[in-house]
Symmetry: D2
Subunit: 336 residues, 4 copies
């Protein structure tokens, strides 16, 4: 069987990582075209990975009929338009999260994806991380009983740069960052969110404040099955990349902790030290590879991809509700 | 110097633990009188610890002029009346938390305590636990920089029994349980709470539901300095007594974790196992001893006790706001 | 029933700790006499604990017919003589480890103890520590299968002081320190040692070298059932009191780790820090209380105490073999 | 610059892993020829990785002048002969550990390698693992002071299979397994071993016993600088792949612990569980990649490789001394 031919739209940190992952690790997929407005960058990568077709615009990629599928790793505000273009040109789509920055866009994307019959997966890679997979299995097997309380956090060591720091382009912290936690919790708990209360603060970064991007946020979620969950995010995590998720139930609990970088323990003057947690690609590299592998499988075997367009929409909806809540300072009911 | 003579009002689990602690561990204090409506129980303890004066009513204890100070370990709904009685009879007071079950009572207590000039301390023992003390030191030394986010939880292995399960007697979960977390956070963060949003659920225990006692709650707090904090509590913690507190700041973070019962690791068929976390008196026994030791020091040296009547009032106020928020389903501003 | 009346011979660190433990924690025992050559010290303690009979010599204590049992916490080189004196005067004996500093003494002690019919227990308190108890239970239940390999270490933060640093008085590191590990391994593995190979070094402390006291030692033990075990000890442990024991078997393993002082985690500039392990009395306080409680039970119920005179002898024999091995630089077969 | 052309001799588990690593991860090297007596296997791999030259014998590989360097991943007993053949045909050599199974072979290899001027590196990959690298750095920076005691273990989940279980082919446990620990300790401690005492046992595997392959061993090493170290190995590690190394010094200690497979914690009926340690390629994959990368760098920049032929010889010498010691049951002095 011939390999699935991928085009990659956007070759920044995430896009070029997907490129490298497909080349190095996937047997049943290859990258045959790349597009990025930064033409020098994209040409350099094309040379390194021996990719023949290079474009400076995702629309040209959409018109390339030799490719079967695309990975959208463009700035968030371009997701909606590019999805439309790729759907029109009948490409299967793997879209980075969030799939859209407004609920209207998200609703429209659900509609056109479902009408097209094409495969569509959203890049919530935590679902493919072995710790999260193990947690899900543990929960499904009933080992924690009925879920009651949950907590999930994503704390970044650096504030956003480039387009990401403009809320109108990235969607702000609830869409860029917290949607990971929203998606993980929906998946692990197996239920929908019915109410959202969010608080956003400008505590550290003056320039983010000027742009209206909260540097620290906390969200309280109520699920339809009664579970109450907390989500928080920060761009000021001095000690590394701190991602943790905890689900507490009637029979037990599961905590996905920060991975240590190594299993080393240093016994010295200041107590026992173990080393820094990992940064995000280090932390989730295997998950990033696995999610594309699963997407390729879904295409080949004509099955529903594991993170659906409706999942993508649900995470956007919670994030939008959080934005409204943080702004109006009241709890917001879902569905919006 | 002669020892401080203590009377103990209420000799249930906590009252009899304080009794034992004073007898076994305190050089500068002794227990000379005990009172409890359960006359058999109190007589038994008096015999065991060779205490001469035994009463079936705290009011009789108040009238006993031979004692210098009292520990109030009565049901919460009797705190207010008993404090008034002990203040009138000029006893120094160590009162278990919460010091009152309404804000009106708390306000009145602040007033009469301050007018009396007597020593008054509230039983938030976590402030005397070595992990919490170390965390406070770490924060004061600036090692985490400016606090940004916080989380604190108290999950009990058993639902409340006796008077505790009646919200009108105990104050419900926000007052009986979460005030520990509220007090710890106020103390560690060094700032006041300005807004409270709380969610309470009846998810597991049918009889608690019938009494109006939430079995699982989550609270979101906003502090005057911008810190956002989450607090949760449960009465359904199957795996032990789960108390943790985490403060995240611009330069680092501190996490007070569940103590392991022992340092043992078992490598077997199901992975690596370490043993159950401790139950509440095991977990905090040293802290319970230390808090009384500090109270005795405050009396002897005529200093302000370390957990003041205003601290006690502040925790009650946050808890009352949480109750209102959970009931009205809106965020509540402080001061009330 | 009246309480068992204890005399304590030697009120240094360990002796005064036993005194405090009995007074504070034991219902069925009391201390009625104390003896120590340091008369000021013993008088001070007698006053503090309201003990009437005070002696400057353990022989006077032996002649005191009002006591039922003694705790021998004298320097090691006095154990043999004092045991003889207490056996003659028909006291039950709890003797600190090692029970003797030569094998000849140990053999003689076994003989006179068994002829006397008196209760005799040796102070290997680790057998009463909850981590070691749990490990023993785990092994007995077959959870690690057949034991194959083992390791145990005792690393002290400070070099020995006073009589302890003279090998002819304390017995040197194999008797003062490693007998803890030898006893723990015999007990956990449930078998006897058949061969010993030991290496002793003078690496750090010049004055210990001059006295012939190895500062760092390592011992390899072969058990009759084939288990091979390593034991090491150091007097140069800069980071605290490091005691660990590990048993590895066909179905699993158990590791008794250093207890953290608290469950705190500090995330800062240098990685994640947790705090110092505890010092020896902190580490084993409960075990020290439990061992005396069990000894009292053995007296009252006329049962064999849990650490027998033969256990005490076996640990001495292994230590003596280690001394010979380290000195002659060859492996030594047991029994000697 | 053109890439270093590699031939791989032996494509079993380790050889095929090196192949995959070079293809996937190394920019400056490529595999252009493979040899293995299992012709079907080697053809399959050649097809998968698009390698043109395929041989059934390492001697043919030696005669292939188009390659610059070889990786020897043949059975241990073929290392000596194949090294000679590759030296004669002027290939740089990366040889899996142990580089020889007798000291005579090892001495001869040192001689011919040094005469040839070719690059030669031995496959002690732990030196390239980030935990071991960090430990080395910590030690070099003086953070543990002077090393005093050390321990290192390698416990395999499965007994050896194929040629590995024949001591005359693999060298037995001291050469196949413990040389990893011997090399790590020499490197971390920065000193040579002067005395070896080893014990080997047949405790579990009847067929290994019949072949004379100890299933459980323990070794005690004395270093020239006074450090005493323990090494143990087992083929009966039911719970995974247990590799740990600990160096204890005057100012602190470092412990390289078992990596958890994930950072997950499960709080359930039996305590807190974390998941299985990793298997050996999972544990050391990055190290295996790094060692080849460093070997390639040494070739390109004409520098001494980081694990020299003398390092390889030293590990063989310690292992041979351990064999003799275990057999004669006496300590053995080095150099032999």
């Amino acid at each position: 069987m011939s390999k699935i031919k991928f085009g990659i739209a956007g070759v920044g940190t995430i896009g070029s990582m997907h490129l490298d992952n497909i080349v190095r690790c996937l047997d049943k997929a290859e990258v045959t075209a790349v597009a990025d407005i930064r033409l020098n960058l994209v040409k350099e990568l094309a040379e390194k990975y021996k990719i023949k077709r290079v474009y400076s615009d995702y629309k040209e990629l959409a018109e390339d009929n030799s490719i079967d599928a695309v990975i959208i790793a463009l700035p968030n505000y371009l997701h909606y338009d590019s999805i439309k273009a790729f759907i029109e040109s009948e490409k299967h789509i793997f879209c980075e999260k969030p799939m859209a920055i407004t609920l209207e866009q998200a609703n429209e994307i659900v509609k056109i994806v479902r009408e097209s019959g094409l495969k569509f997966q959203v890049g919530y890679q935590r679902r493919f991380d072995k710790a999260y997979v193990r947690a899900k299995k543990f929960i499904i097997e009933g080992k924690i009983g009925l879920p009651l309380l949950a907590r999930s956090n994503t704390r970044d060591p650096e504030p956003p740069v480039g387009w990401e720091k403009y809320p109108q382009k990235s969607g702000g912290p609830f869409l860029t960052t917290c949607t990971h936690d929203f998606d993980s919790l929906r998946w692990l708990i197996g239920a929908e969110v019915r109410k959202v209360y969010a608080v956003g603060k400008f505590l550290v970064n003056e320039d983010l404040k000027n742009l209206g991007f909260y540097d620290n946020v906390m969200v309280l979620l109520e699920f339809e099955n009664g579970v109450i969950a907390e989500v928080d995010a920060s761009v000021n995590c001095s000690y590394g990349y701190d991602v943790r998720t905890e689900i507490f139930g009637t029979k037990g609990a599961i905590r996905i902790e920060i991975d240590k970088a190594t299993g080393i323990l240093e016994f010295g003057n200041n107590g026992v030290v173990h080393d820094y947690p990992k940064w995000f690609i280090d932390r989730f590299l295997d998950a990033y590879i696995n999610e594309i592998r699963e997407f390729v499988k879904a295409i080949i075997s004509d099955k529903e991809p594991p993170v659906t367009v409706e999942d993508g929409r649900a995470a956007v909806e919670i994030a939008v509700a959080a934005q409204i809540s943080a702004s109006k300072k009241v709890p917001i009911r879902l569905p919006l």
